[in-house]
């Protein structure tokens, strides 16, 4: 099994000919717990999209390595504010979407898929909310449902976009500790993107910082959270 799940080689990422991140060279290791940080608009979501394969690099390459020769499965957890609250969906209906990638076109999810979704909701400690409307859950509960949805796709890695945005400290801690448990117990690679320094400082094992010049520096948290590195990301500097 390759030690790396993803490697970027001289990758320039952006939209059309507009480069957002330039000449990225780094790898994400299997079983990593990586926090990606940078100010708003720095290109965090662009990086996430490239990892997911939704965005081809303008230059260079983004290579992903599965455990059995097949491409790795990425479980995507979007920013929950992006999902339209007008959709009348139960937690179970949201979670079962994670199984859709395994189903043939025009094949509806069956009992087995709903059983997987229920099991994933249980892993996320949301079994008692299975039939509750997703839009009426708290932010932390919605986040757990979205993580359950990603887990229903049996992913090699979870990619989370601002998973604790808008949450109080207690809810943030609960979500991040759930992710730490997932990584420790299942060996799931976790990559989360955030603009919140507190989430990185308390929970990440390794840190990738998107700098103001559109490059990425990456390393163990203890080395990365130096004032010099943070100043490269945030204009005013951070102490």
């Amino acid at each position: 099994m390759p030690a790396e799940i993803l490697r970027l080689r001289n990758a320039t990422l952006g939209y059309g000919n507009h480069a957002v991140l330039t000449r990225l060279n780094f790898a994400i290791e299997r079983g990593d717990f990586l926090g990606v940080m940078g100010p708003n608009g720095s290109g965090k979501t662009t990086l996430l999209k490239a990892i997911l394969g939704l965005l081809d690099p303008i230059e260079g390459s983004v290579e992903a390595f599965g455990s059995d020769g097949a491409p790795p499965r990425f479980g995507y957890v979007p920013q929950r504010e992006r999902l339209d609250p007008h959709f009348p969906l139960t937690s179970l209906e949201v979670a079962v979407m994670g199984c859709f990638g395994r189903l043939r076109p025009m094949r509806r999810p069956g009992r087995e898929d709903f059983a997987i979704a229920r099991a994933c909701l249980a892993r996320a400690k949301m079994e008692e909310f299975t039939e509750k409307p997703y839009r009426r859950l708290s932010g932390g509960q919605q986040q757990r449902v979205l993580i359950a949805r990603a887990l229903a796709g049996e992913p090699d890695a979870l990619l989370l976009d601002e998973p604790t945005n808008g949450m109080d400290l207690e809810a943030e801690r609960a979500i991040m500790e759930f992710l730490i448990d997932l990584q420790r117990d299942q060996g799931t690679t976790i990559v989360f993107v955030t603009h919140l320094l507190s989430a990185i400082e308390h929970f990440a094992r390794r840190v990738a910082i998107i700098t103001r010049d559109g490059s990425v520096i990456i390393g163990p948290k203890e080395e990365m959270l130096s004032p010099e590195n943070l100043t490269r990301a945030y204009a005013a500097g951070v102490n």
Binding site: L54, F87, L89
Partner: protein, 267 residues
């Protein structure tokens, strides 16, 4: 019930129920996707198609349907422009379709009256072949909507997740928009633009105010669409009112009640 012993009234009821059955389930996604004015745009594009056909002396409805399909194929390809919100595109379809229709009608040897007669049907005068066309087309539309339920859901709710799962957002948006375009064009021909537009919006809006499950929303929208249509037809007969506006008025009243219910329901 003695009303149904009159042959033409049977046609009216069947045509109304078919239009409701074809459009009401679609209305749930039309409302959720914020594309309610697609119905109005389809009417204008169909007008342009009919005017074009009359100008060149070919079968009007086939051209109207073909132009609608081609337009919505193109629409689905550019609907995700990062530069423009979708409603601007729908507005331009409406304006462009209207302008094309007027320009073509001006040059048409048979004039505006023929174009409007061919395009805008009246629920009281639906011919039998059109009823059969509705049965076939709406059966296909419903089958697609049932079978592609997961695709329609995820591309509308979370397109990035759909892409990450390998589900083609472009393909399923195209299928959805073309399905809506064809269903609306046919319904306009059968029951008129106002009723078709109302059936494309109101049942879904009522259902989404009332229920917390998507599956229930489809069921309730269909029930609301069919019930309002049948009650409206009978009501218009008993009270000597125009049929289409009676049904639309009933749908508007149901929407008002459901909106109040939703506002009073605890969050």
């Amino acid at each position: 019930m003695e009303l149904l012993t009159i042959p033409f009234m049977r046609h009216v009821v069947i045509a109304g129920m078919l239009a409701a059955l074809g459009l009401a389930p679609l209305s749930v996604y039309v409302v959720l996707r914020r594309i309610v004015f697609v119905g109005a745009a389809v009417a204008e594009i169909s007008s342009a198609g009919v005017a074009l056909a009359i100008l060149f002396g070919v079968e009007p409805f086939a051209v109207a349907l073909a132009l609608t399909v081609v337009t919505f194929l193109a629409f689905s390809r550019i609907a995700e422009s990062p530069r423009l919100p979708l409603e601007a595109l729908i507005g331009m379809l409406y304006a462009g379709g209207s302008a094309a229709a007027v320009l073509l009608i001006v040059k048409s040897p048979r004039g505006e009256g023929s174009v409007l007669n061919v395009l805008f049907g009246n629920i009281l005068t639906v011919p039998l072949p059109l009823l059969w066309a509705m049965v076939v087309v709406f059966a296909i539309v419903l089958a697609i909507q049932y079978l592609a339920a997961k695709e329609f859901l995820i591309v509308a709710y979370d397109p990035d997740m759909a892409r990450a799962l390998g589900i083609s957002v472009n393909l399923w948006n195209t299928v959805f928009y073309v399905t809506v375009g064809v269903a609306v064009a046919l319904a306009i021909r059968a029951v008129g633009a106002l009723l078709a537009f109302a059936l494309l919006v109101a049942p879904g809006a009522v259902a989404l105010c009332m229920v917390d499950r998507l599956g229930s929303a489809f069921t309730l929208a269909t029930v609301v669409g069919i019930a309002a249509t049948v009650i409206g037809i009978f009501g218009s007969y008993w009270f000597d009112l125009p049929t289409g506006p009676t049904i639309v008025g009933l749908l508007a009243a149901l929407f008002a009640l459901s909106y109040v219910y939703a506002a009073m329901k605890p969050a």
